[in-house]
Amino acid sequence: MNNWKQFSKMHMDILKEIGNIGAGHAATSLSSLLQKPVEMKVPDARLVSFNEISERLGGAEQVVVTTLLTIQGDVTGYMFFILQQDGAKRLIHSLLNQEEADSCNELHLSAVQEVGNILSGSYLSALADLTGLNIQPSVPEVAIDMAAAILSYGLLEVGKVGDHALVIDTCFYDRPGQERPIEGHFFLLPDPDSFSILFQALGVTEHDKGD
């Protein structure tokens, strides 16, 4: 299914629901790690051009802390767990009970990597349970760099069919109602061929209009 522009509202709603269920499980995992409530925003599933993809993170040059897993199995693609730098610092602070450090050392990075791994794992296993598909996350990698430079890694596969990517973005944050939350994004970026497999597993055909 290469022509994503033909996706109906129902298809997009299903993708949002995937984000909802996946990130819901991830938020629960984070909540138990931090031992405090974690809230989630309404997921967003959107077809974006390559140049728009970093916008929700503050622009192409915004420096972000990212854990990336590649997805293998019946469905392939990429899962990014993205934090702004100050959010990452606060997360490390909460987890390690240390003062907020100015720079990231190896221990800090590996803490972020492990959190990203646990949360992405919860997200993907919820997705595997929902669909009954074999979905295997890779070993996580972590990077602190410009959003566009990081995200472009996930665009290599979709780039072969066009200049747009379908991103399922779910944002969550702690400290509901307070300032300076730890805010994180999950970007699920399935490869183009994976959409029809996902829809099929959920009992929807590509041409279903639904409404």
Binding site: F50, A143, D145, A148, V161, P192
Partner: protein
Amino acid sequence: MTKVINVGMADLNVACAPDKIRTTGLGSCVGVVIYDPSRKIAGLAHVMLPSQEFSRGDTNQAKYADTAIPALIEKMIACGANRSQFQAKLAGGAQMFKFQSSSQVMRIGERNVEACKCQLERFNIPVVAEDTGGNFGRTIELDTLNGVLYIRTANRGIKEL
């Protein structure tokens, strides 16, 4: 007035003096800059993949090294640039993540750089400077007035080529 022309991912464009031309957030992508110092005309392509052979129905010429560079040269000549004066600079082609896998995708930055050099050689355009590889992103901006390429990174400051 000086304008800054922004080139997006998998895109290309040309700038004439006194304008500047830039592209942001190069990861494994390669920024190819071709400059004609005699006419002060610069072209920039933000290349994502080494060859159009990777395409599965996509027709964006600017995305692939083997189609972007010929298209860029053509566009520069159409703007009045003198081909015999062309010189190139390259930046990007990083390996942002070091997944332990033998998959070719993992070396895509390196392969993009190789493919760009191969195309530039094909058109007899010398590569006068490059800042490629590593594991970090880059934003580049070329000043058409002097041909200097400014390379900005998240943690390594600014470099001039």
